[in-house]
């Protein structure tokens, strides 16, 4: 199967004062279409940085990242925005819902940003919310929802544009174990039913086990790759 995401010798450096920090150091990974990859590692290992680079939220210092065959370094900021909106769905640990918008509006945010307010788009958002069990909470604001409910809305938002890739950054980090399991089950469902590629960063081995492959990072380098049994 052809790789949907390819990282070639990717490095990311930050400067803090006079110090240079190498968050990623020559990482090369291939992620196939429809694959569920878990990325693990200790705090500061570079796993979130890796996810941010794949998600076109940041640019690498060296190396190249290919997303569906396109080299991200050659794209403009607008093109990267379009990729994030159309091809990628993000799920964050902090949910990052906008406090003034309802569940429906939050979930519909990518479609609204794309300037799509057609009936079928709105229908699809409703379906997504219903699929994550939030069909009866469409008009609730984030402050009226529990952590688990907020994460479901965030998942519906990530799915609303039917992206090819879903990037999840510690999606269960702020949830209790029951809600965490439900969230992982939804992600697995996305992979299995819709063929979406999932890349999930987690430090929880139990959560990582949902992946087809587990990549472990240490000091910005890939130190281990395990295929799920």
């Amino acid at each position: 199967m052809k790789a949907q995401v390819t990282l070639e010798n990717v490095a990311k450096c930050y400067t803090k004062g006079t110090m240079e920090i190498r968050a990623l150091d020559g990482v090369s990974i291939d992620v196939k279409r429809g694959e569920f990859v878990s990325i693990m590692g200790a705090s500061g290992s570079g796993k979130s940085t890796l996810l941010h680079l794949i998600g076109a939220l940041d640019r690498s210092t060296a190396g190249e990242i290919y997303l569906e065959g396109k080299a991200l370094s050659s794209l403009s900021d607008d093109a990267l925005s379009d990729i994030r909106r159309e091809r990628i769905g993000f799920i964050f640990q902090q949910f990052n819902l906008l406090p003034t918008l309802t569940s429906f509006e939050n979930a519909a945010l990518p479609t609204l940003l794309a300037g799509r307010a057609r009936r079928e788009d709105r229908e699809r958002v409703r379906e997504m919310l219903a699929a994550v069990g939030m069909g009866d909470r469409l008009d609730h604001k984030p402050e009226e929802l529990s952590g688990g409910q907020m994460q479901r809305v965030a998942i519906a938002r990530a799915l609303s544009m039917q992206p090819a890739i879903i990037l999840a950054d510690e999606p269960t980090g702020n949830l209790d174990s029951k809600m965490g399991e439900e969230t992982l089950a939804i992600l697995k469902e996305c992979q299995e039913s819709y063929g979406q590629t999932i890349i999930m960063v987690t430090h929880d081995a139990k959560a990582a086990a949902y992946g087809d492959r587990i990549i472990t990072l240490k000091d910005g380098k890939v130190v281990e790759e395990l295929e799920a049994i």
């Binding site: 939220l57 379009d82 003034t100 945010l109």
Partner: protein, 850 residues
Amino acid sequence: MLSVFGQFSLRFIKERKGRAAATVFGITLGIVVIVATAIVNRSTLASFKQMVTTSAGKAELQVLPSVRSGFDAKYVNVISGVRGVKGAYPVVTGNTRVVKDARDVDTLMIYGVDASVDRKVREYDLSKGRFIGGRGREIVLTSQWASDYGVKAENDVTLLTAAGLKSFRVVGLISDKGAGNTNGGKFAVTDIETAREMFTRAGRVDQVDVTLEDGFKEDAVKASLESELGKTFVVERPAGRGKDVEDSMAGYQFMLSLTGSISLLVGLFIIYNNMEISVEERRFSIAMMRALGLRRKKILLFVLGEAAILGSVGGFIGVILGAGLARSMAMAFAGISSALNRVNLTELGLTPGIFLTGLAAGPAAAMAAALGPAYRMVKVSPMEALVPVETSWGKRNRRTIALGMLLLIVGAAALIALTFPEKFRVVRLTEDQFKAFGVGGLGLLVGGSVLLMPGALRAFLKRVAPRRIVPRMALDNLGRVSGRTSAAIAGMMIALIMMVSNAAQSLSYGEYTRNWIDKSVGWDMLVSSSYFGAQMDVPLDEEFGRNLRAIEGVKIACTLRFTRASYGGSMVNLSAFDMNTFFRFAKFDLQDGEGGKIEERMKSGEYVAVSSGAARTFKLKAGNVMELSTPDGKARFKVAAVVKDLGSDNGNVYIDRPTYKRLWGDSRVDGYDVVLKDGYTVEEVKERIEREIGKGRHLTIRTHEDFKKGIMSLVDQSFALTDLVIYIAVFVATVGIMNGALISVWQRKREISTLRALGARRRQVSRILLTEAVAIGLTGSLFGTAIGMFLGKAMVESGRVLTGIILEYKAPWPVVVWAVALAVGLSSVVSVIPGRAAARSSIVDGIRYE
């Protein structure tokens, strides 16, 4: 502790040079105007007092007339005869122009003295030549002035006199010691008879300087002089004079103080905004320091210390620039205030008192402005401060809404009440009460609007809730931080209230002026001596009038004299026209009185007419009796009418010239209103006057159009200063909008990053900020222009009480359109900075922001 302060504050100032500079600018703005105002005020009075005391020499008392035309020279002997008076030294004084090659060179103050005795009272330190002899056109100049203009002893200089331009021989030069220091050296001495010819003061004296016999006390001799001379004279110590300067300074001092206060307020607003951003930006650092055990008080001291440093820099720059601005300010106001014509610009220096006050005011103002944001920040617990701000829609506060409604209603009612015609008023207010009522009403109206605005804004924006994401995000944010949004709107609103109400007044006053000129000014030309109305004392004479009437094309030449007289302890402007000719080409625009009888009454000499300003100041109406002081006592007149007029606060009293001449003993003429015969053009008659009788006279001939333009430009000028302050206020309001947006960007870092992560383009994020700014600008401008129109109407309507002038309200629609466009335009422009900050910020940092 100092190293922590260095880390926390000094490094921050260094890193945020732009903001530090903006804070310093805010302080400088306030201090510079205050310092300049203080210098001009102090110098005006000080230079006048210095002029009086140096020119008075050894004189311990001065006898002055209570009317401008001086008094009869026979009183010099009366004064000499008073017990205790050792010497009485008469002076005829006035200002004139020095002319060289038909061009003005400078103004000189002339002292006409009795050459044989004057050196007993005044010290003339001759550096060249000799002192003036008896009669003849001889003068003594100051060495300083002579050297400035390259004049030497035994040279001739040309001065403007009532008989035209005349040559004077410079017989000597005096140093700046003693009398030579008078009027900053712009001073010349001539014989008293020569000065009388120069200023047409035959047989008259402007002041008598008095020295006392040994053993006599000033108070006793002053009392004797007063009882001997009566109430038409004023006896004062030279050093005690200055009240008239203070009085004439009152108007412009009010304007300066107003400008200074608004500038300071504007400056404080800038500092407050910047300090709020600085504190907000360091929310995390402050929380960390608090978490690590630093006490609230210490952090408060750090922020105040930082403000004090910036304030000191701003204060220092403000003091230095203020000293520079004082000169320009004095020159700018010289046309408005006669007092400032007397200022010797070399006196406009910084005194230690003003220097220290300005220097202390900088840090004090900065610390006062920083206190609020700093206190708010240290009050928050470290844990709260560590968590990013995520505000949702605030809740309605019924008490705030009720209070806002109450203030709004009371304020609006107060302003409406001021516009009621006098007969409907239950309570009669004094002018000060009236002003206080108006300012209070406006304050309540604005205060009420500000209190109601957050709630109204929230309710409105919730209801609007646009579908499109950019306006939706923008309006949502405005509603969430409705307090800050309301403050930004209020800033713009207040600035535009001022702009529109000022425009309404300017427009209405301008319209009134134009109408007044069209109705009341029936002449074709105004022929006057040079510098008519410019503090000159060189009038024309009646002989000139006879020659003028003989010029081909001249139909009427009406004799004019403008002077002042004392009425009820105040000075009032007196306009003496030859009513026989005046009514042939002009008429009074009456506000009160019988129009049919006005001509006959004014010609009789038993009546005067008063302007609307005088009627208001002195509470006069047609039929009242008015007692005016003349050199020989009081004269009673009946008020024939109240006429619409422009002019000074105290207004004008119109009198028939023959009556004035008889009672005041003054036959001088300031100018002639000229009406042309049919078939003659202004240009040809003007040319003829200059050719036939103008030679050597340095005449000023203004046409009707010139006059109209001049008056209209004066009207514009009088509103120009307020306009300047208004534009500064608009600028500050705009900066306020930008600062608010910048704070908002910092507070919404995570939200903006989320939007970007979900695929929002940079342009979309910038547009959110643009929409917010435009919404603030638009709301502020709509509220501001609406209240401004209302206030403008109230001010125009209430003008009849404050100035006695009945104006017709003119809605300033073009200014309303301009104000809205300006507010929206400026808001859009300044939104670029926060918009760029938001669009360019790192997405990863924003999401990580915890």
